[in-house]
């Protein structure tokens, strides 16, 4: 039965991805265009000799930002749409957790993220003659990005769980996403000790630092970043699971808050 439900969820999101293919293509194009526009503005400050290096670092920050913003908005933000459709009650009545359905949003969010990033990499390569994929330590880069993905997924689920109880504006999502990109850009090396350890404890910062280390031969705070990243990821998963469980119980007792608004 669990396999049938999983198949249904995967089928739903794959089918939606196909039916809204132009919308997703448009999302990829517009996202890539916006990022490119911002990067061009930032590159105005970079001396011509360092543009290649700056492009590579900027690209991987964008990768992390795209993963964070896409996963949190497309997973967390989709709950609002799901509530509006009245699908929460439908699924609960059939003993299916609405959060399992939301989990399937990984399919479109990954598709948009990967499409956007490949497009941006192509633009960077063409415009600045830079290979953004040339890295020193591929394993560390994959670990960093994987942890960012899990953390953003946990955050998305926490938001989705909260959104059945309280209203969360899309504008707030976007502002948070902007604040995160600011944090991801700050070099940990420039922050004095022990404040740098505190800074690494901010969600996404430690795994991003791991990814930045993968681009150079530096090992600055590698052990601390790895430990903080892992502990933080586990903590965020626990918070997400707890939020989802308590929200499910809350829905069964109180009903979805959207009913009151509709």
């Amino acid at each position: 039965m669990a396999l049938v439900r999983l198949k249904a969820v995967l089928w739903l999101h794959t089918l939606r991805l196909w039916r809204y293919k132009w919308s997703f293509l448009n999302l990829i194009l517009s996202q890539a265009m916006w990022v490119f526009l911002f990067i061009l503005g930032i590159l105005l400050f970079v001396p011509r000799d360092y543009i290649g290096l700056a492009c590579r670092e900027a690209f991987w920050i964008i990768v992390a930002w795209t993963i964070v913003s896409q996963t949190s908005t497309m997973v967390g933000g989709w709950m609002r749409f799901f509530i509006t459709l009245g699908m929460i009650e439908e699924h609960i009545l059939r003993n299916i957790s609405p959060f399992n359905v939301v989990l399937g949003r990984i399919i479109p969010s990954s598709a948009v993220s990967i499409g956007t990033l490949l497009f941006i990499a192509l633009i960077f390569g063409e415009a600045f003659n830079t290979n953004v994929f040339s890295v020193y330590n591929i394993g560390l880069l994959v670990l960093g990005m994987l942890l960012i993905f899990i953390q953003s997924l946990a955050y998305g689920f926490t938001i989705a769980a909260l959104s059945v109880r309280i209203g969360i504006s899309r504008g707030i999502f976007e502002i948070l996403s902007f604040a995160i990109v600011g944090l991801l850009m700050v070099p940990v090396e420039n922050i004095p000790s022990p404040l740098n350890t505190l800074f690494l404890s901010v969600p996404y910062v430690a795994p991003m630092h791991l990814s930045k280390l993968a681009l150079s031969s530096s090992n600055f705070m590698l052990i601390q970043s790895t430990i903080i990243s892992l502990v933080e990821t586990v903590a965020m998963i626990i918070v997400a699971v707890h939020s989802v469980t308590s929200s499910e119980e809350w829905i069964r007792r109180q009903g979805v808050k959207a009913v009151g608004f509709m």
């Binding site: 132009w22 919308s23 293509l25 448009n26 999302l27 194009l29 517009s30 265009m33 916006w34 490119f36 526009l37 911002f38 061009l40 503005g41 930032i42 590159l43 105005l44 400050f45 970079v46 001396p47 011509r48 360092y50 700056a54 670092e57 900027a58 504006s169 504008g171 707030i172 976007e174 502002i175 902007f178 604040a179 990109v181 600011g182 850009m185 700050v186 070099p187």
Partner: protein, 270 residues
């Protein structure tokens, strides 16, 4: 219903929209600062002010340069979405047939009900940045530069309205407006030199930038970023170009939106 009523309805719509959507108001106030903070912060982290001056070839202050860029970019996005993209919104809420049946032409309704919103939102953004401009410059120079920015916003609006209505005339007959507008907006900003000067882009993009009214609005606003007092000659020249474009784009929009409306009604696309 007179034209004044249309303007008044635009004002009332905005007042009630922000009264009932406080998070939207907050987001609107924070957004320009976030854009500016991101570009300046990242720019300073990856490079320097001297490299900025060398790359642009301008003796400009990067803070005022990007304030001007941000204000005009936000205004241009707003015009494109609110006039060009409003067709989509009206269709979503089911009000498009009523707007089409209203005594005024849809282009007139779209433009006149939007003007108060544009002026109101642009003024708020200008006031938001005014303290930084005065802080970077001194009071008298700061006020002068704010006036140049205000002039760019007002004069730049005129051709942009026609340009966006022209888009509305094309979009009215297709059903997938967002797919076009979402990526067209950043593309237009890119070609207009919104954050990266158009003259540094490849030649073929410069040719496109010449026909876009936003290019000249951005150039006019950016005159405020040049260190020292703004020169009158380039201001006058750019205002002249924008006024010429106002006549061309608004006349074209006036003719074409009627054709678009009739075509859409004929096809039942609405």
């Amino acid at each position: 219903m007179g034209l004044i009523s249309l303007l008044k309805s635009g004002i009332m719509l905005d007042i009630y929209f922000f009264k009932n959507n406080k998070s939207e108001l907050l987001s609107m106030l924070l957004w320009p600062y976030l854009m500016l903070g991101l570009i300046l912060g990242a720019g300073m982290l990856f490079g320097s002010t001297s490299a900025f001056k060398q790359n642009t070839g301008l003796n400009a202050d990067p803070i005022i340069y990007f304030i001007a860029s941000t204000i005009v970019a936000m205004a241009a996005i707003s015009v494109m979405w609110e006039v060009g993209g409003n067709i989509l919104f009206l269709r979503w809420i089911g009000a498009l047939p009523y707007v089409l049946l209203a005594p005024h032409r849809i282009s007139t309704t779209l433009i006149l009900s939007y003007i108060p919103r544009y002026l109101f939102l642009s003024l708020i953004q200008l006031l938001e940045f005014a303290p930084i401009i005065i802080l970077v410059e001194n009071l008298s120079s700061g006020v002068l530069k704010i006036l140049v920015l205000a002039l760019a916003i007002v004069v730049g609006m005129l051709p942009l309205l026609g340009f966006s209505a022209l888009f509305a005339s094309i979009l009215i007959s297709i059903k997938e407006e967002t797919h076009v507008l979402s990526w067209l907006n950043p593309l237009i900003l890119l070609f207009s030199g919104a954050l990266y000067p158009a003259y540094l882009l490849p030649y073929w993009t410069q040719v496109i930038s010449w026909i876009l009214p936003s290019t000249y609005t951005i150039e006019l606003a950016r005159l405020a970023s040049i260190i020292g007092s703004p020169q009158l000659a380039p201001i006058t020249f750019l205002i002249g170009v924008l006024l010429g474009m106002t006549i061309v784009y608004n006349s074209l929009a006036y003719i074409l939106i009627d054709i678009g409306e009739r075509k859409a009604l004929g096809k039942g696309a609405i």
